[in-house]
């Protein structure tokens, strides 16, 4: 079964008169439960592709099905709902809310989904325990290390048990050791929840965590040769 079925995606950025074509007929398919890593030179369009898969960006043309739903047919509201309930995002710079504690950060998606406060807090505490931050529930992002912040971000991404996780360079802000730790944790959590993942990365040290590696080159996606 396919979690992602993207065919012939095109996307150009227009700024005034200049048009930058980024995706030029990209095909990309991911099985449910698979962890696929996306690599490619800087500026090749990896983040663009990930944004499209995350319903944050609309392709100029092509067809896209995420978790069995044709994205073109979704209203803005439905797309927002799909992101909230079915897709978890992990970003390079964590994107935690500075003024909130680790616990409150993990509570955000739960609150957005309308969970009552007490239930959301219990769930968030449980998740933070699972990522090894039981002692840091009250800590603010500013007081935590990069590795700890990324753990909080992963806990937040998993809060509503999404079927798909999209991660953009999740280890780029971490040192080698924390990178390994985060990816080990990430794979373990993926197994527990049978989650599908697409991870954009430049970091060859974590390639071993991938089921499959694809490369974005010249606006298309193909199986990576060197590391496969």
């Amino acid at each position: 079964m396919l979690a992602i079925a993207a065919s012939d995606l095109h996307k150009s950025y227009r700024r005034g008169a200049t048009v930058t074509p980024v995706l030029r007929g990209a095909d990309f398919h991911v099985q449910v439960g698979e962890a696929v890593f996306l690599i490619g030179p800087s500026g090749s369009g990896k983040s663009t592709l990930l944004s499209i898969l995350g319903c944050l960006l609309t392709p100029d043309s092509g067809t896209l099905e995420i978790l069995g739903r044709a994205v073109e047919t979704l209203s803005a509201r439905e797309a927002t709902e799909l992101r909230l309930r079915s897709i978890g995002f992990v970003f390079q710079r964590f994107q935690l809310i500075e003024g909130l504690s680790a616990l409150d950060n993990v509570c955000i998606p739960l609150k957005l989904a309308g969970w009552p406060a007490g239930k959301a807090r219990r769930r968030a505490a449980e998740l933070l325990e699972r990522v090894g931050l039981a002692d840091h529930l009250r800590a603010r992002p500013g007081r935590m290390s990069a590795g700890q912040c990324q753990r909080v971000a992963i806990a937040r991404a998993l809060a509503l048990e999404p079927q798909l996780i999209l991660a953009d360079e999740p280890t780029a802000s971490l040192d080698a050791h924390s990178g390994q730790e985060i990816m080990t944790l990430f794979r373990a959590l993926m197994r527990d929840h049978q989650v599908t993942a697409v991870v954009v990365t430049h970091d060859p040290r974590i390639f071993s965590f991938a089921d499959r590696i694809c490369e974005v080159v010249e606006g298309r996606v193909r199986a990576a040769e060197a590391v496969a």
């Binding site: 509201r77 927002t80 992101r83 809310i97 003024g99 609150k111 957005l112």
Partner: protein, 373 residues
């Protein structure tokens, strides 16, 4: 989402404090300005508000308690026969000059009350008793007007229109809208002090029997004596206040000053909310990316504004109560009604919400895809 808004707001104490100062400033300003305004304008109807008459009867065109036009005194008998009237007495308000021991003089308002009922007499006496006004040559003046009247003590003599007057009691805070002091005395002496004819008077003050409708009696008085106008206490109080309100532009100047202050306060709030949001555009983009609906974003922004408005109003009103206690005086009374306090808080809340629209318009434009870059 409200909890989220409060927590993020509390996380940036510096900005929150600045915005609070803006709200507090606005609330205090509106209440003090408004309180001073109402305090001042209410002096225009002092005699009516404290006169204990249910109905004021005067010349057809009366429009201000301090500036009556005299009417024949004998009409009072016709009023007394109207059903529902308990009693009606003539009352004089007139202008004359008081000659001072220093050789100076001072224009004063002479108020002449019925000798038997003392209706409309001075109140809040600090020395003497109201009935002392019946004593020979007796007048009552206010102790806050001491400077204008060469500091008279009880027992001291003055001259009004060349006629002897003796201070028999003193009030505290009986001051009108104008700078001229009130001098209370009996009807007969007031006529002499003002040089009026003894068969004329300025008003008839009417007391009603229990449970009688004042408007019906006013109507009866008007039809019995077509040359007069009759108003209930509240009506004549309002008319006297409106006289100064409309003829002086006082409302406009106080109102303009208040609006200006409000604008300054609100610019501070809008500015701070905007800065707060600008700092966190990335966080709003994140919220949108992970699935916040537009309505939820609006809730956050409005909560920010509401928390500010609520906290600022409470602190502001607390300060206003203190300021009123310390600074309100009979000369410059600060009259803050529940309506003013509540109204100002609602106004400030409304403006806070409006000033949150500016930052919101900025958040609206944030594209969630920006979290990827």
């Amino acid at each position: 989402m409200v909890e989220f808004a409060v927590k993020t707001l509390l996380a940036d104490r510096g900005k929150m404090f600045t915005a609070l100062v803006g709200v507090v400033f606005s609330v205090v300003l509106v209440n003090i300005q408004g309180g001073l305004f109402f305090g001042l304008i209410q002096k225009a109807s002092m005699l009516v508000d404290h006169g204990r008459a249910d109905i004021w009867v005067g010349h057809k065109k009366i429009h201000n308690v301090d500036f009556p036009r005299d009417i024949p005194r004998r009409w009072v008998h016709r009023i007394r026969t109207i059903p529902g009237v308990a009693h009606a007495e003539p009352y004089v308000v007139g202008v004359t000059q008081m000659t001072l021991p220093s050789g100076g003089f001072e224009p004063v308002f002479v108020v002449g009350v019925d000798e038997r009922t003392l209706m409309g007499n001075a109140w809040n006496l600090s020395q003497g008793r109201p009935e002392d006004v019946r004593r020979t040559d007796g007048i009552i003046v206010d102790e806050l007007e001491d400077d204008k009247l060469d500091r008279p003590r009880v027992g001291d003599l003055r001259e009004l229109n060349g006629v002897r007057a003796r201070v028999v009691a003193k009030s505290h805070g009986v001051m009108g809208f104008l700078v001229n002091p009130y001098v209370f005395t009996t009807y007969a002496r007031a006529v002499a002090y003002t040089g009026k004819s003894p068969d004329r008077c300025s008003y008839f003050l009417v007391r009603l029997e229990e449970g009688v409708d004042p408007h019906a009696v006013c109507q009866a008085i008007r039809s019995r004596i077509p040359e007069v106008e009759a108003y209930t206490r509240d009506e004549y109080s309002r008319i006297s206040v409106n006289y100064w309100m409309t003829r002086t532009g006082l409302g406009i100047s106080f109102g303009a000053a208040t609006l200006l202050g409000l604008a300054v306060g609100m610019i501070v709030v809008a500015q701070t909310l905007y800065a707060l949001v600008l700092d966190r555009l990335a966080e709003f983009a994140t919220l949108k990316a992970i699935g916040a609906k537009e309505r939820q974003i609006v809730t956050i922004v409005i909560s920010h504004a509401l928390v500010m408005a609520l906290a600022g109003s409470m602190i502001g009103l607390g300060l206003v109560v203190l300021a009123q206690r310390w600074f309100s005086s009979p000369r410059a009374p600060i009259a803050i009604s529940a309506e003013l306090a509540l109204g100002s808080s609602l106004l400030v809340t409304a403006i806070c919400i409006v000033s949150a629209l500016l930052p919101y318009s900025r958040i609206r434009k944030v594209d969630p895809v920006s979290v990827m870059h």
